[in-house]
Symmetry: C2
Subunit: 345 residues, 2 copies
Amino acid sequence: MPPGLKDVARQAGVSIKTVSNVVNGYLHVAPDTRARVQKAIAELGYRPNVAARQLRGGRSGVIALALPELRSAYFAELAGSIVKAAEERHWTVLIDQTDGSAERERGLVSRLRRHLIDGLIFSPLGMAGPELAADASDTPMVLLGERVWHGPADHVAIDNTAAAAEATRHLCELGRRRIAAIGAQDAPTAVTARQRLAGFEAALAEAGRRADPGLVAHVEEFHRADGAAAMARLLDSGDPPDAVFCFNDLLAIGAIRTLLDRGYAVPGDVAVIGFDDIEEGRFSSPTLSTVSPDVDRIARTAVDLLAERLDLPRGEDAPAPREVRIEHRVVVRESTLGRLAARRV
Amino acid sequence: MPPGLKDVARQAGVSIKTVSNVVNGYLHVAPDTRARVQKAIAELGYRPNVAARQLRGGRSGVIALALPELRSAYFAELAGSIVKAAEERHWTVLIDQTDGSAERERGLVSRLRRHLIDGLIFSPLGMAGPELAADASDTPMVLLGERVWHGPADHVAIDNTAAAAEATRHLCELGRRRIAAIGAQDAPTAVTARQRLAGFEAALAEAGRRADPGLVAHVEEFHRADGAAAMARLLDSGDPPDAVFCFNDLLAIGAIRTLLDRGYAVPGDVAVIGFDDIEEGRFSSPTLSTVSPDVDRIARTAVDLLAERLDLPRGEDAPAPREVRIEHRVVVRESTLGRLAARRV
């Protein structure tokens, strides 16, 4: 018979509870006690019995977080916030990068099922609602982002369209006349881009104007290089814009770089506003005006919703999927207000 | 008896191999076939048999990556590179953020053991060599970064001290006289900071100078805000530096922001060089001179070393731990050369 907790406890001269604390990675075990237990574990070749644990239906204390890409600062910062919120519940978070591909997202759910995760926080890009419903059947899940509304699981997001309209309205209020957008995408799964474009157009319509199709720049991805290239195309097209709403901060930072390289003043010649409020935009030159979603609140809400489902007494019906909208605000900085005005805000 | 692969295959009208491909999340299954299999899985309530898989000693196709923090762009970009390199081997990467705390790092190894991971790529900050040795006994592991040399496992890193000396030498060659450093740390575990400071001092000594202790700024963490605050202290101290070597790019970006806010020209008054070559520094204004480790090479090497251990035929002795040094180079941009000169590089 393979060695059990009891054997390790005897060998180390500690209680079974202490061995269990070490095995579970709890933080309050004294270093020398921990060392003694680890030595006994190694000597006896003890391995925690995963299968038994699973059969008992116990918790693993581990949740998974599936995100499109960590290279994108917004998702990296969101991941950091979720890890922090989960830590308060003594949960470990394992992160899976899906690249936003529907194929990888599909594989994800079945891959994760083979692991002892208690639940999943998932920011899907490629998969659609009905498909998620089929997969969500038995792993408690919280969805993040604008991809799925009224889907099969709890869902946390900001109002993208309203936020995009507010950003555009800010540019109108500065008296700008030729307002461009960078970040349009045509793919049917490009929900973020579509919602932000809708908000942009709505704000212009409200101001009695129509979006000039020549001022709407498409991008492949939401990275700095895409923003830089899109801005170059807008400038090359003849009649340059005097303001740009970029659908995320990375696009805006790329666009600003192109403007400065070409000798345009920001915001003197062209005002630029982004979306996400990543830390980079608080230190860039000029600092970046942007839409700031309350990321810590998004993270905490997702963790709380998941915890509620996990704490559900056995036999009690799970609540219907909940939709939670998180606050956002427009933060104005140097890239639209200029240096001196931004300091007075 | 619970339903097996065979039952799912019969119900879906496909081969067992196809069901296995769907369950394992492989990418080459046709969408309608996948849908049929998923439907059968849902109808029959099939669950892959984790315990059986483990007893067979099979592979899970999942590796873990443990990093100090995703909020730090270098680690986020490194994670992206590792996921990409692992994808070519059809591995899934689960990422765990340790916050660099020794306690969390200790918990990590035992937490991960309970999961079906084939191996671990680990960038430790808090744990020391001997302790890692005790934990590394049976999970194949590759260590990243400068924390542990000649440790218990394969190790991939650049030569930090040499790289820091090269960055400092670049500032000397520009004719700068009062060269400061931002990023010193006193904690016994702060190996990165210590190595980069040693390289800084070595390059100054080589140029016949001594590091002025008043020009070595300490930081709590390697974030933008720490760099901004450290630069402010250097400027307030009376005799400001004319060049600064920052121990990472985030510190450099914070330092530049403070310099510009106070009306100093970069590099006119103060030249600034960082370390890491994160994408942000290629788009910032000014663009950032830096030490560029070959991150893709680090990622690929770590994955290759892990694969070699995993592919080891049963019964064959594992090779002794290997030390692999990865190339780096100094990339000079506007923050040390100025705009026009940087364009000619």
